[in-house]
Symmetry: C2
Subunit: 149 residues, 2 copies
């Protein structure tokens, strides 16, 4: 589980499991598979989707373990959460970069936003209210250009 002689493999970005282990948490097959599902998902992934992916290889797993692992990863800042308004909360590895989303109420389109869009708002809140806004992975709802016309 540890790199030999301190060198890293190509494409080794220190996986979530390794980072948990380095932070003193135990390495369990459940966690390995949950983290694997998150890392191998190219889009947003929900707790149910993670569970579905894990349960095929490990039928004994319980969905509360998925939620608890997500809580842990969130607390360690290794994944970010966002509610895209579809009834299930979505997750991302933080390593995939900070960004946000616009969600169309009419056609359910999801538009990606650069983090920079909120810099102005954040500094306004800091200057006017002394408030450090914790805007990490936000979804803003409304109507997209297609649905307005």
């Amino acid at each position: 589980m540890q790199d030999h002689a301190g060198h890293t493999h190509p494409h080794d970005h220190n996986g979530l499991l390794t980072q948990l282990a380095q932070a003193g948490y135990r390495m369990t097959p459940q966690r390995a598979m949950i983290v694997d599902a998150i890392e191998n998902s190219h889009n947003h992934i929900s707790a149910e989707e993670i569970y579905s992916s894990v349960v095929t290889r490990y039928p004994h797993v319980n969905i509360s373990t998925v939620y608890r692992t997500l809580d842990l990863l969130k607390a360690k800042g290794l994944v970010t959460e966002t509610d895209l308004g579809n009834g299930r909360v979505s997750y991302h590895p933080t390593s995939k970069g900070h960004h946000h989303h616009l969600v169309c109420h009419e056609c359910q389109a999801i538009i990606d936003l650069e983090e920079s869009v909120f810099i102005e708002l954040k500094s306004k809140l800091k200057n006017q209210y002394g408030f450090m806004a914790d805007i990490e992975h936000l979804a803003i709802f409304g109507h997209c250009s297609k649905c307005i016309s």
Copy 2:
């Protein structure tokens, strides 16, 4: 239930129930009491709190009626919803004016924000993405000035 000769009483701001009735919805004792609880609340109010208030006078009422009435009032734009992160969604009559909130993750303080704070962001989203953001009663989480120092 209807104003005589078109004149309105002093302090009559056309209550939520009247507005529902004018929109063709039926006037039921449940709705009257639910709407009453919302209008007589000086702060944010949750579905459970509305239910608690109604059930003392009308023990037969079911909480799903509260949720359905809230859905109706939301759809008609008569109340706005916001998730202040305390496990229960909060409601306001729209007539109390548009505003937003900053919520401190450390001390749970809730700071009120003028609507104008988001004008800049909204026009940016409209100009750059053609997106009409539907920001009505938003809660932004983070750390307040007291907790930062």
